[in-house]
Symmetry: C2
DNA sequence: TATTGTTATACTCTATAACTATA
DNA sequence: TATAGTTATAGAGTATAACAATA
């Protein structure tokens, strides 16, 4: 096992742990991953058309219809008329939806604090720099692959 | 935005890129994520019973039936009789299945080399140390949550 | 003509529950 | 009795294609 492979394996392991934490949130909220992603996007930009949601999620418009149907049924969002385009709907969080969004943000901040709160500032800065470099390299690789 | 949140966001961003790379492999191989995971496990331990596969994947036995059905249909694995237990089957890769497993291992090593191949040894060691610490902290958090 | 969202259809992954064959 | 795997059934996410309403 080479050192570079070890580094990638650790990154993968950390990814799996992050995924496990998301699963925990899904269990507790009774929501599914894709629906939580919808609420997350809503929390970071307010009401949005289904078309824009499809682009943000990188799924088909048909798929968004299904996801929004589910969130409407569970009363986390409503479909509001678009003020100027009568074809479009604005997916808008309800009070319950906003509550989940708040929990999402809190849970995210809590996790960050628990993971890195006691890390010395210099180590954390170095870690972020390495992550940045890796992300940038990755981005270049994916770009080439196109 | 606090520093700890930035660090977690970078970790999440890297996770998403890793996921995107897996998606690319799925497209190229014509296989799905769960089926690729089955082949990955097969590549790291040889023929395995469906029950053990269910445990390794953390899914139900019923689910494994479906995954193996798909891989049998695409001729990546066969169901072989267990030598001593007539209830069990041994999921075994075919030549085509072994080819995908080889590509999987190569692709993994390639990615590691491209991501970290030009990183100075000392920086890489520091990065792995930070990842280890983070993984360990995470493990403790998940343990407590139980 | 182009865009927004839906209906129609199909496939995969996932789960629980009941069942068969074997241990 | 307990275990390995399947059948039956159901829900969620995903996709393509055809369509209606509107821009």
């Amino acid at each position: 096992m080479t050192k570079v492979t070890t580094a990638l394996d650790k990154v993968l392991e950390l990814s799996m742990l992050v995924t496990a934490d998301m699963d925990r949130f899904e269990q507790e909220s009774g929501l599914t991953g894709p629906r939580i992603r919808v609420l997350w996007i809503l929390g970071h930009g307010g009401p949005i058309t289904q078309r824009a949601l499809a682009t943000a999620l990188d799924v088909t418009p048909r798929n968004v219809t299904g996801l929004v149907d589910g969130l409407v049924a569970s009363e986390h969002v409503t479909r509001e008329p678009h003020p100027t385009d009568r074809r479009a709907t604005l997916v808008t969080p309800t009070a319950a939806g906003r509550r989940v969004i708040r929990q999402l943000v809190e849970s995210h901040a809590d996790l960050a604090a628990q993971l890195f709160g006691s890390t010395p500032s210099r180590d954390l800065a170095a870690f972020v720099t390495m992550l940045d470099t890796t992300i940038e390299t990755f981005g270049r690789l994916m770009g080439e692959a196109t």
